[in-house]
């Protein structure tokens, strides 16, 4: 399905090892710097809440990929662990606010994590016997079960209104307050970096390596001494733990948890974002979480159909780019290393331009259809692509359709050149 999760250890020559280690440390350091500086660079008022959402999504998606990409387990119910961790964290926060518990906000995600771990172990005890379709169905069943139970157990789930909490009422640790979005941002950033490092580390442990082996060939793994079920169970518990941390961060950020946060929609969202990002690479879920959250918040300002566009993007990824965005980037690594990347820019830009034209056509048509279906009979114009469009006349329909056809034809014409350029640029050095 996808290429190995990480480039394997380089040759034993010590300088090469040291170089690789330096590169890794540099990467982590760069990540920390970027994250620290980001809110000062992007100063739009709506930016920080979106970045908080991204941070939570990153932790959630990384935890999900421990199952899907690393373990070969497709789950349709992963939001259960985020949700349960979040609810437990919210209740804990309420207890802390009433001085029943000494629990400062920075430690709250751990409480969520422990909650996620507990339920991960509980549900994992019977879910992990098999991977594949059976696992997916069990995860769906458990997810729907929890979502339905949430309407019954009102004391824990708060019924229709959910559970609210107030992060400003909790005791302070080292005087750190979390009243503004930006303060919460740094907390989320800390936890995102910490959990990412931990999850990366997990993938390099025997449990993590055997998870890959069991994904590839569970039968053979049993014949080299490992119980496939136990290996999956360890991954499942770990992923529940980190999903619970994401839930704790969720509780801190939004200060409310509802049953919807545990349901199929949320579980589907994390599947989409992880897959779009690329399940075969550690960076994949991170990229996917950022892109997905960005598109979701950007698009929902302009159109009610953002989920359709994301769904189409998802289908396109499954059909044509199964390695995801990360895979797409990694595919260009040889060209980059050989210094031939610049040659790709021209053909790529041309294809992308035509693709953009076709996309404008599709979006225009879809938006106009939406308008016809949803808007009242009195309105006849719509704001589309910064123009006022008279939807009830024929002219815009023809225009967008023409854009679609022209764009698709042009992209089709330009694509072979781009592909050829890619092959040329990726050629191993030294060959004619």
């Amino acid at each position: 399905m996808s290429t190995p999760a990480r480039a394997t250890a380089p040759a034993l020559a010590v300088p090469a090892l040291a170089r690789a280690r330096w590169r890794r440390y540099a990467a982590w350091l760069a990540a920390v710097l970027v994250v620290a500086v980001l809110p000062h660079v992007v100063t739009a008022p709506a930016a920080v809440p979106v970045m908080n959402q991204m941070g939570i999504a990153i932790v959630f998606a990384l935890s999900y990929n421990m199952l899907l990409g690393q373990g070969g387990m497709l789950s349709f119910g992963h939001a259960v662990y985020l949700g349960l961790g979040g609810f437990i964290a919210a209740h804990a926060l309420n207890l802390a606010a009433r001085d029943v518990l000494y629990l400062p906000v920075p430690l709250l995600p751990l409480v969520g994590g422990l909650g996620g771990l507990f339920f991960g172990a509980l549900f994992g005890s019977f879910s992990t016997r098999r991977a594949g379709t059976v696992f997916a169905m069990i995860s769906l069943g458990v997810g729907e079960l929890m979502a339905a139970s949430s309407l019954i157990l009102n004391a824990f789930f708060g019924g229709e209104e959910g559970i609210t909490a107030n992060r400003t009422k909790a005791p302070l640790l080292l005087g750190l307050e979390f009243t503004t979005d930006r303060q919460v941002y740094y907390l989320i950033a800390f936890w995102a970096l910490a959990t990412a490092a931990l999850m990366y580390g997990f993938s390099r442990t025997p449990a993590g390596r055997m998870a890959n082996a069991v994904r590839d060939n569970p039968e053979r793994a049993e014949f080299v001494g490992y119980s496939a079920q136990r290996v999956r169970f360890v991954s499942f518990c770990a992923s529940g733990f980190f999903a619970g941390i994401a839930g704790g961060l969720f509780a801190i950020n939004y200060e409310i948890l509802t049953a919807e946060n545990m349901g199929l929609t949320a579980s589907g969202a994390v599947l989409l974002m992880t897959y779009i990002g690329g399940i075969g690479y550690f960076m994949g879920p991170i990229i996917g979480a950022v892109v997905f959250t960005f598109l979701q918040s950007m698009l929902s300002d302009y159109t009610g159909m953002w989920l359709l566009y994301l769904g189409i993007l998802f289908l396109a990824t499954v059909l044509y780019v199964p390695a995801g965005l990360a895979g797409l980037l990694m595919m260009h690594a040889p060209a980059w290393r050989a210094g031939r990347f610049r040659r790709l820019l021209g053909p790529y830009a041309l294809t992308a331009l035509f693709g953009l034209v076709a996309a404008v056509g599709v979006i225009g048509l879809l938006e106009m259809v939406h308008f016809m279906a949803a808007a009242s009979a009195a309105r006849s114009t719509k704001r589309l692509f910064w123009m006022t469009v008279h939807v009830r006349t024929l002219w815009p329909w023809l225009a967008f359709a023409a854009l679609l056809v022209a764009g698709a034809a042009g992209a089709r014409r330009a694509a072979p050149a781009a592909a050829a350029a890619f092959n040329e640029a990726s050629r191993p050095a030294g060959l004619p």
Binding site: V134, I138, S149, L319, A373
Partner: protein, 317 residues
Amino acid sequence: MFELIFFSVLNGLVFGMLLFMLSSGLTLIFGMMGVLNFAHAGFYMLGAYLAYTLSRYLGFWPALLVAPLLVGIIGALVERFGLRRVHRFGHVAELIFTFGVAIVIEEIVQLVWGRPAKAYEVPALLDFALFRFMQTSFPAYKAFMLLISVAIFVFLFAILTRTRAGLIIQASLTHPGMVAMLGHNVPRVFMVVFGIGSALAGLAGVIAGPVLGTFPGMAQVLGSIVFVVVVIGGLGSLTGAFVASLLIGIVQTFAVALDISVGSVLAAAGLPPLGTTGVLHELWQVTVAQVAPIMPYVLLVLILIIRPTGLFGTRET
């Protein structure tokens, strides 16, 4: 009391046969291609919406014929241009793909028809009470639903067991590789079966739309239950799908009708209540009707743990 039982059984039968119409298509697709089609309930929804629109221009009866046909064609196209590409990446990738299709179908329905529920009405011809028993009447339309479902069942059974095409399909259910070796165009068989399965789902939508409601959430409401039916009945077994559909249909209908609390049921069995407040107390106060939506999922999880091949099935993946 007897009235309640009588109508619950009847309604349960109607619902159960509807579930069978949905699950038969799903189980055929699964049995043959190994794909659990997440988008199946989406085709059910498409059937209802298409029938709604068509019935406004052509009338209910033409729509009854045309809408499932349209849905079947869409299904065949999805298989031909989508699923077939993903097939080589394995079952997990196929599941992921059909999940994406489900999302896109639901969004397109909302795009074209809007979010509010549609007033898809029972046709005037059938809008009367078929008979009255004690205080309650049984609508003729429900009898019509039952009739169509049984007709489909008989039709499927006849085709699968009496025709050559049916034999090929049955063979492909268990030995697709061998069937290909024998010279049959298995990809085309897959496409046809996927199309027929989708058309069946569409037909279920056409007849259920007026009764169960035509709204964007209708796929999600029934989708999971259909999975439960197929898994409990046994992945790939039509008999299992039939038995499980009726079982779940009747049990669900009964459970929803019963307003007894779980606590009183357990008390009748001799178990004392747990506590007077908090979570456990809530569990005891819960009525059977409230628990009813959960029961299928409990059954699903239990079956997958105890007997993943289901009641009648022979394969798990």
